[in-house]
């Protein structure tokens, strides 16, 4: 008898542009004590399945076919009231963002007791005792006192533990977890996954975990179902799917996952989802505008040298200086970047890595320290005109492709803006020709110029961002988490593009990421940041094989193991 059986499920979303089939004939089963992973990229329909199982499909979504059985009882046909009684009692749910999943105005005790009492009818006293017990089980220290606290008094990781306690509080038989660790840092992700796996095995609960992250799949699941555009393309044991996938989509997906253990030359076969922008018309850089005028003078000494950088933010403003509460987002950071290398900066959220990047390109003014670029301290420059000379040689690519382009401007104007501002081309016609060439060069094609950003996918937008960054003919490119908002196969395409451009144009790069495997694929040397401080700078191979700092070792240990992933068809780079 299956614990949970999703049978030929079909879900449709009628819309103005016709009906979208979000889930198409999907059949899945979960056994007691088993963790089933549902993996897929955005738009695959995986979250919709979770919502449909607990009967909370968002309108206008509609189940138009199939059934859901819990221990052979059909639950999709029950009355709304009967469905409600199953939620929480038989099926628990965990959502992605712990910061918004809890009612901010009630103590966690009120929320736990309310739910326990509702389902188990234990009475106030026993419910409270059970609530404390649950908090202890999910690893919250000092539960007797912490239970009186409000959600905002817990950190993100602790809040996700509270959410798990809430999902578990009536001893459900099935737990559906929708991207439960996506909003968390790697170190906390590892702890939460470990907790979920242990609870699942101890209590013989069946778990359906929905994720886009192969690391999560490798860490926690027993079996995996792969979804692609609403369809189930492949299902099997985790070892089989990761190590020897059958379906071409799964193969493509696996090969696009950045690996912590080896460094690849390029990501192969990543054009299953979105035909990789074909870079058909490559420019002859020896004669083209983009390649010309690259005859920069060779640099004496380091290309970039940061000395004792400090950035202070005011967290509690006050009129009098000594009343202000401040904290150092970046605290005494120094490192050099050599010409032509890709320097990686890695750390968890809030470690100050993005702040360093923003100080280098003058978005922030450092509280102290020097930013030496080509031997000039940028912090000392007073006139904007003089600064423009350095700005032109230094560009940045941002994280979020949906906010990094002005939605009110055509792609032509977006990319032409830097060329016009720095007067890098003569006539308007010349500017337009350059923009078209740039679009070709990043694999978008010239037709993109007349369209608006919202007409493009995330990956395409990131290509536009890259074209805009290239439009000043920079020699230094800062990439701030350029792929962390993208699906894994799109990420692979963009990383390939960045690698190619770096090689062609001899760019120097600062590559910022929270993702160690991505860093391994991209960088020559790496700096590790923790709470505003730089704890280690090493060559990439040394960092991964031979970490010096304790914190680096810790990060590497917590990184999901992907050793079981298939290496077939991959070209490993020897260093």
């Amino acid at each position: 008898m299956d614990l949970l059986n999703i049978n030929n499920l079909r879900i449709e979303f009628p819309s103005r542009h016709g009906t979208v089939i979000a889930v198409d004939d999907v059949t899945l089963t979960v056994q007691p004590g088993e963790v089933l992973g549902v993996v897929g990229e955005s738009g695959a329909g995986k979250s919709t399945i979770g919502n449909a199982v607990i009967g909370l499909l968002e309108p206008p979504g509609e189940m138009t076919g199939g059934h859901v059985f819990l221990k052979e009882q059909g639950i999709d046909t029950l009355s709304p009231e009967a469905k409600r009684k199953i939620r929480g009692r038989k099926i628990g749910m965990i959502f992605q963002d712990p910061l918004t999943s809890l009612d901010p105005l009630q103590t966690i005790e009120q929320q736990l007791v309310e739910t326990i009492n509702l389902h188990l009818k234990l009475g106030e006293k026993k419910s409270q005792a059970r609530a404390v017990d649950l908090l202890r089980q999910v690893g919250i220290p000092d539960p007797e006192n912490r239970i009186k606290n409000y959600p905002h008094q817990f950190s993100g990781g602790m809040r996700q533990r509270v959410v798990i306690a809430l999902a578990l509080c009536a001893e459900p038989e099935v737990i559906i977890a929708d991207e439960p660790t996506t909003a968390l840092d790697v170190s906390i992700q590892a702890q939460i996954l470990e907790l979920m796996r242990r609870l699942c095995k101890d209590k013989k609960v069946g778990m359906l975990i929905i994720t886009h992250d192969m690391g999560v799949i490798a860490d926690i699941t027993d079996r995996v179902a792969v979804m692609y555009r609403g369809k189930l393309v492949e299902e099997g044991t985790t070892a089989k799917i990761l190590g020897n996938p059958d379906h071409p989509y799964t193969q493509s997906l696996i090969s696009a996952v950045p690996r912590p253990d080896v460094r690849l030359k390029r990501f192969p076969m990543v054009n299953y989802i979105e035909a990789e922008g074909e870079r058909k018309k490559l420019l002859d850089l020896s004669t083209h505008w983009l390649g010309k005028a690259r005859d920069y003078k060779a640099v004496q000494g380091p290309f970039i040298s940061l000395k004792n950088l400090v950035m202070t933010f005011v967290t509690k403003p006050a009129l009098l200086k000594h009343n202000r509460v401040t904290f150092n987002a970046v605290d005494d950071v120094s490192f050099d970047i050599n010409e032509g290398e890709v320097f990686g900066l890695v750390g968890e959220s809030g470690s100050g890595k993005s702040t360093v990047a923003r100080m280098i390109c003058s978005l922030y003014r450092p509280a102290a320290g020097e930013v030496n670029f080509l031997g000039t301290d940028l912090t000392k420059i007073k006139s904007e005109k003089e600064r423009d000379y350095y700005r032109r040689q230094m560009q940045m690519i941002f994280q979020d492709p949906f906010s990094s382009l002005n939605g009110r401007m055509r792609v032509m104007d977006i990319i032409a803006e830097p060329i016009r501002f720095h007067k890098l081309a003569g006539s308007n016609r010349e500017v337009e020709q350059i923009v078209t060439d740039l679009l070709d060069h990043v694999g978008l094609g010239a037709q993109a110029a007349v369209r608006f950003p919202h007409e493009f996918s995330g990956g395409q937008r990131q290509r536009i961002s890259i074209a805009r960054a290239l439009a000043t003919r920079p020699r230094f490119l800062i990439c701030d988490e350029p792929t962390s908002a993208l699906d894994v196969s799109i990420q692979a395409q963009i990383l390939n593009l960045l690698k190619d451009l770096q090689e062609e144009l001899g760019l120097t790069m600062l590559f910022i990421s929270h993702d160690l495997p991505v860093i391994r694929q991209m960088c020559d040397r790496v700096g590790v940041m923790k709470q505003g401080k730089l704890v280690e700078v090493s060559a990439t191979e040394d960092l991964f094989e031979n970490p010096k700092a304790a914190y680096t070792r810790e990060l590497l240990d917590l990184m999901p193991r992907l050793d079981s992933l298939s290496l077939e068809g991959l070209e490993v780079e020897n260093t």
Partner: protein, 323 residues
């Protein structure tokens, strides 16, 4: 808690001083105060003596300081038109305005908030759609027109209710109340409905919008996913979270009732401060205008203090941040 209230008090003082400065500037620089006090035939010497006596030749800051101190004691000088102390004129009319505003405020909250909650929860229902459409008509009807229509219907055509004045009032010390007589209560009905209607629709629409916003949050979705019944989700979780933003705006709206009373009072010839003020505007009776401005600001500051304290009580996030 103490430092929080102290900070708010300090802000209130700053607001009051700013408003007092505006009021003083109006008093001092709009028209010539001397000309407004004496007749045409007063000699130049007498005028100068009066100016000296009133301290109009003192430095600006001294004059403002004196004005502010006097104002704090309730002394706003003499009305140009009535030749009586402004404080006396206002005090006589204060009770009328406050009683009217109070009844209107009760109506606004008692109907506006439940209607807002109802239309948010049953947003697809026929009754909700009806209420929403009516509320749009409500915000589109100028207050004075509502008054005129009510007068036409209940006063002129049906002849059920009085259409002007307060009816019989009972004096309780300096306070006169219309709550204690039948005619006083009857007289309150039309003006208070007129005054409440616009604010009511605003509050209702606001509560509805905020509630719909809260209903879309993750924690409501999570509450549903835990199997909580609708009642608990709606009232224990959604409504309380709705209240946080609603309290602020409600405070502001209730404060503006007192000022909006200007229109109602003038339609119903209600003998309150608003009527006094509108006549002062027409006659350019600056001392009354200045005093009214300061008084309204004072009411707002008091209401804002209450709102802040309520806020503090409802939202635990504030309590910890300020502890």
């Amino acid at each position: 808690m103490f430092s929080f209230i102290f900070k708010r008090l300090l802000q209130s003082v700053v607001v009051m001083l700013t408003v007092a400065l505006i009021a003083f500037a109006m008093f001092r620089f709009v028209g010539d105060p001397i000309n407004n006090m004496v007749g045409q035939d007063t000699s130049q010497a007498d005028r100068e003596a009066l100016a000296e006596a009133l301290g109009l030749n003192d430095p600006f800051i001294v004059q403002f300081g004196r004005f502010a101190l006097n104002a704090a004691e309730g002394d706003f000088g003499f009305s140009y038109k009535y030749r009586q102390p402004v404080s006396k004129l206002i005090l006589e009319r204060l009770a009328a305005t406050l009683e009217l505003s109070f009844v209107a405020a009760v109506l606004t909250l008692a109907i506006g908030i439940p209607a807002g909650v109802y239309t948010a929860l049953k947003s697809k229902g026929l009754l909700s759609k009806g209420i929403m459409t009516l509320s749009l008509v409500g915000v589109s009807l100028p207050t004075f027109l509502i008054g005129i229509l009510l007068i036409l219907l209940f006063g002129v055509i049906l002849r059920w209710l009085p259409t002007f004045g307060r009816g019989e009032v009972v004096a309780l010390g300096w306070w006169t109340t219309g709550f204690l007589t039948a005619s006083g209560l009857k007289s309150l009905i039309l003006p208070s409905i007129t005054l409440a209607l616009f604010q009511m629709t605003l509050i209702m629409r606001l509560v509805r919008a905020e509630m719909l916003e809260v209903m879309r949050t993750d924690f409501i979705k999570f509450a549903r996913a835990r199997g909580l019944p609708d009642r608990a989700v709606h009232f224990r979780h959604a409504l309380k979270n709705t209240l946080v933003p609603v309290i602020t705006i409600t405070g502001l709206q209730l404060g503006s009732l007192i000022a909006f009373a200007i229109i109602t009072e003038s339609v119903f010839q209600w003998p309150g401060m608003g009527l006094l003020f509108i006549q002062a505007v027409a006659d350019v009776d600056i001392p009354i205008m200045a005093a009214y401005l300061v008084l309204i600001a004072f009411f707002f500051v008091v209401i804002n203090m209450i709102v802040d304290i309520l806020y503090y009580a409802v939202d635990p996030r504030l309590r910890v941040d300020n502890a």
